[in-house]
């Protein structure tokens, strides 16, 4: 019997969940910022609307992969509350597991010469 990787239960991960967790692992941030960074990072390919963004965040929080860290005041002093979210240990494990899973897939694609290596 083998011990299961703590992140294994979450793999494979949905691409949007994966991207959001990666961004949060880079630097804890709040929803609006996350929305903009996601759009910039994917060069406009992934544009998450506020409803879906918080649905995803809620799912990640419920699954124990992300967590609210602190509450700050809103942008430009509007007073609207905003929560900063970060990745939990379980989230990092899940990212590692996902990276491993994708590395295996990437290796298989490489063997078939399907991957264009960037110079």
């Amino acid at each position: 019997m083998t011990t299961r990787d703590p992140g294994h239960a979450e793999a494979p991960m949905k691409p949007v969940h994966h991207m959001i967790l990666l961004l949060l692992a880079e630097e804890p941030t709040y929803g609006v910022e996350l929305m903009d960074r996601l759009e910039a990072r994917s060069e406009g390919a992934v544009r998450l609307n506020p409803g879906s963004l918080y649905r995803t965040i809620a799912k990640l929080v419920d699954d124990g992969l992300a967590e609210p860290l602190e509450e700050a005041s809103g942008p430009e002093g509007t007073g609207a509350p905003r929560k900063v979210y970060g990745v939990t240990d379980r989230g990092r494990s899940a990212l590692r597991a996902e990276a491993r899973r994708q590395a295996v897939l990437l290796d298989a694609a490489r063997a078939l010469d399907l991957v264009e290596e960037t110079p």
Partner: protein
């Protein structure tokens, strides 16, 4: 800043679509992020729409996660059960369709009728505190005059001496002659009302002002107040209309006010003109002409107010002895205006409640039979580990689905039905016993009623599932055990109730149909088909001779129109809820008054009786020589002759009136009665006199034409104007339209009650069908064995039908008894037919028993289709 607030409000509102816990944690952030997206410099209109849609879409996603996630309501087999329910309903399409249709028709009928009730009887009148607003009538119990108008001096006496009112006002309906383009006067309905009128109703102007102290006396400015719809349609919603003038014949009037939207006053009049108190004071106390409306002071009851006006009446007799025998009494104005339809609408509401009861009984029957038929299958599910909650959930899901479909379909049907109902109600309804009429009551589908009907249907159906749940959980073998017999007994009782109710409703419907047919068949006393009528002339300024000449010349001009067979004039057109009373003195040979009475009278010309189609039944009618010089002849109707010369003949008797122009007239003939107060009311006694003595300034004209009456309208108008083009003509109407208005309410009630009775009959048939179909189904194997042993299918079919024959017979008798008792209670709605009408009873019994027998025969026929081998194999 303002715009940001609006956007924030919008998104805050949208967050309410999310599950509460999600909204609590993320709501503020969703609003903040949405505003961020919304206010991006590049955001276009469609982007912004997309942001709104996205927030809604996000809510749908979160709900989906919640319901499908661990512990979600749709986890644990909900979807599985849902699919199972859909599949099993698809297999029993007949059952599903029946249940849906039963609910759909019941919900549609209930929503329609209760929307109508709420929109009419329960609708607020167009003035505040309606319970404080009274109408004061003059009444003379001895003469049978219970609701009459009063004279100007009598009103002023009420105004001065009553102590229980904040305001008491006089008004009357009149015509206003508005000059149209080309100078021809257009006749519009108007209300002439004094300065207390709007304060009594508690109505303020939407623009400008209502009548005040400055309008009370003659010599004040000539003013007019218009209704909102007149301002919108005729004055093009002119925002600067106050202070402008309208060109009335004789003189212009200044518009001083526009009334609030929705204010319609009894007969829908677009114009209000001031009635001066000094004109009221100068009026002859014997000339009764005005309606009185009053608002009670705080803390005053209607009994106080009635006592107050009765006291004033007693004192008024001292001032004006002619008032002897008269009194005043007060009623709530709103009660008067809805009374013409109240009984019919309440009867409809009661009927539809009964239909609902039948529908509920029907659903119970259907659900129980269904549960019993499925008890074996549900028993297997329990044996495989499903708890009672799971079985209940399946039944509840099935019921909710069927009930929602049925109620939804019913709500879709309801507006169509309501549209039909409002189409068969006339534009105006006469108020019995009074010279008034009210705009017909119309109603739109009431959202509150619709929602209630939906919830009651779904909730009621769920409650009705409970007995079937116990049936299903007993896990009884549907073939031959105690469960079957218990269910059959209960069901048979319910079906019996249904048949009884259907029979009772059929008795009621037959009575209503016969009653309405009787009303429609009543000879109203004149031939209204082919008769055109119009009011015309404004010759009050002329002397009686000038007026007479004008009316005689116009009648000549009308008679000259090709196709006009006869024409005549009369001062009040019949069937318009108008009356005009004269004090009449009976004279002895020396022309001394022997006694006096107050009866209706009409001034007519010699062509009137022929034009109206009123035959002379004794003596003679008017001749042309009766129309020269002072009137000295009169004709009475049969009711007048019978009332004042019972058993004898009035021909040759001498009569006088209060009007000096009509004295010492000899009665020369008796003309047939006209039921001018509607077909259901007895014809009023009537004295006809020649018009030349003192004709009114405005008269009515009857023209009998051949062929299409409406085609003669332009020719008739041209003929009248050919005599004097400056004289006004009010709308030209076929007499049939007025006669129809009197029977429209019973006719509408007949259609509705008939429709509800057919619906109940269908529902009862469904109940009978269900019970026999169930019997055949559960006895399938037994019947198979009997067929295999040589029993004839006909015999077995008869046996199945016999199972309901007894209950049908008992229910029919019970239904007839209930129907007759209910009809006796609602006897006021019947005309010319007794509550215990043999024809109605026979029709009801035949209709119900045929429906029940047919409904039991159809499923019983299936016995013949049973294959004995297959039935026994299933065993």
């Amino acid at each position: 800043m303002k715009r940001v607030d609006r956007v924030t409000r919008l998104f805050r509102a949208l967050t309410w679509l999310y599950p509460p816990s999600h909204r609590q944690v993320y709501g503020a952030e969703i609003v903040s992020a949405s505003k961020h997206r919304w206010s991006r410099p590049a955001a276009t209109l469609s982007n912004r729409t997309a942001v709104r849609v996205a927030v809604v879409w996000g809510a749908a996603g979160v709900w989906h996660d919640r319901l499908r996630g661990p512990g979600g309501a749709l986890s644990g087999g909900w979807l599985l059960d849902g699919r199972f329910v859909l599949r099993s309903l698809w297999r029993s399409r007949g059952y599903a369709a029946t249940a849906v249709l039963v609910l759909a028709f019941s919900v549609a009928a209930a929503t329609t009728v209760f929307s109508f009730v709420r929109g009419t009887l329960m609708a607020a009148p167009p003035y505040p505190d309606p319970e404080e607003v009274l109408v004061v009538w003059g009444s003379n119990v001895e003469d049978g005059q219970l609701r009459d108008v009063v004279s100007g001096p009598a009103y002023l006496e009420l105004q001065r001496r009553t102590t229980t009112f904040d305001h008491i006002a006089a008004f009357h309906h009149d015509a206003a002659y508005l000059l149209a383009d080309g100078g021809r006067p257009e006749v519009l309905d108007a209300v002439e009302a004094n300065a207390d009128f709007f304060p009594a109703l508690g109505v303020q102007a939407a623009m400008g002002r209502v009548f005040g102290e400055e309008d009370r006396m003659s010599g004040a400015a000539r003013t007019v107040i218009v209704t909102h719809s007149f301002w919108r349609n005729r004055l093009d919603s002119d925002p600067d209309v106050i202070g402008t003038t309208l060109p009335f014949e004789g003189n212009a009037r200044t518009v001083i006010g526009v009334l609030p939207e929705g204010f319609e006053w009894l007969a829908p009049a677009p114009l209000f003109i001031p009635l001066r108190d000094d004109v009221l004071a100068a009026d002859n106390p014997g000339r009764i002409h005005y309606n009185v409306v009053a608002r009670m002071a705080d803390g005053v009851t209607i009994a106080d107010a009635s006592a107050d006006v009765a006291r004033v009446a007693r004192d008024f007799t001292d001032i004006y002895p002619g008032f002897e025998g008269w009194s005043f009494h007060a009623e709530r104005l709103h009660e008067v205006t809805v009374e013409a339809v109240r009984a019919v609408i309440l009867a409809l509401a009661a009927t539809v409640s009964v239909v609902l009861l039948v529908a509920l009984v029907n659903l119970t029957t259907l659900f129980r039979i269904r549960a019993l038929a499925r008890s074996a299958e549900l028993g297997v599910r329990r044996a495989l580990g499903a708890g009672w909650a799971r079985v209940a959930r399946i039944l509840a899901m099935e019921t909710t689905l069927l009930a929602s479909l049925g109620a939804g379909l019913g709500l879709a049907l309801a507006p169509v039905l309501l549209n039909r109902v409002t189409q068969i109600v006339p534009e105006w309804i006469p108020i019995p016993e009074s010279a008034s009429r009210v705009p017909a009551l119309q109603a739109d589908l009431d959202p509150g009623v619709a929602l209630t009907a939906f919830l009651v249907a779904v909730g009621g159906a769920l409650v009705l599932t409970l007995p079937s749940l116990s049936t299903a959980l007993r896990g009884a073998d549907p073939r031959g055990s105690r469960g079957v017999h218990g269910t059959i007994r209960g069901t048979r009782l319910l079906v019996g109730i249904e048949i009884a109710v259907a029979t009772a409703l059929c008795v009621g419907a037959s009575l209503m149909v016969r009653s309405a047919d009787n009303l429609l068949a009543v000879d109203v006393g004149l031939e209204h088909e082919g008769l055109l009528t119009l009011y015309y002339g404004d010759t009050w300024g002329e002397d009686p001779e000038g007026r007479t000449t004008y009316y005689r010349r116009t009648v000549e001009a009308v008679r000259a129109i090709p196709g006009v067979q006869a024409a005549g004039v009369i001062d009040y057109i019949d069937f318009q809820a108008e009356d005009d009373f004269a004090r009449i003195y009976f004279l002895d040979r020396s022309l001394q008054p022997t006694r006096d009475v107050r009866e209706e009278w009409r001034r007519v010309d010699e062509g009137l009786f022929e034009a109206a189609g009123m035959p002379i039944v004794a003596g003679r009618g008017f001749r042309s020589d009766d129309f020269s010089g002072t009137p000295n002849t009169a004709v009475v109707n049969e009711a007048f002759a019978e009332k004042h010369w019972p058993g004898g003949s009035p021909v040759g008797a001498m009569v006088s009136t209060h009007d000096e122009a009509y004295r010492d007239m000899q009665v020369v003939g008796i003309v047939q009665d006209v039921r001018s107060l509607g077909p259901a009311a007895p014809p009023p006694p009537m004295l006809y006199v020649p018009l030349q003595g003192n004709p009114r300034g405005t008269m009515g004209l009857y023209a009998r034409v051949a062929g299409n009456v409406i085609g003669y309208v332009p020719a008739l108008q041209e003929a009248v104007w050919s005599v004097d083009s400056s004289q006004p003509i009010a709308g030209v109407w076929p007499m049939s339209a007025f006669v129809d208005a009197w029977v429209a309410v019973p006719r509408a009630a007949r259609s509705l009650v008939l429709a509800l009775a057919v619906l109940t009959l269908l529902l009862a048939a469904v109940g009978v069908f269900g019970i026999v179909a169930f019997l055949v189904r559960t006895r399938r194997s037994e019947l198979g064995v009997r067929l295999a042993l040589g029993a004839s299918p006909d015999r077995l079919e008869r046996d199945q039908m016999n199972a309901v024959v007894g209950i049908v017979a008992v229910s029919l008798i019970a239904g007839v008894v209930v129907g007759v008792v209910a009809a006796r209670a609602a006897q006021g709605l019947l005309y010319g037919v007794p509550p215990l009408d043999p024809i109605s009873v026979v029709v009801a019994v035949l209709a119900t028993s045929s429906a029940a027998l047919l409904a039991s025969y159809l499923p019983a026929r299936r016995v013949g289709l049973i294959d004995p081998a297959e039935a026994m194999r299933a065993e």
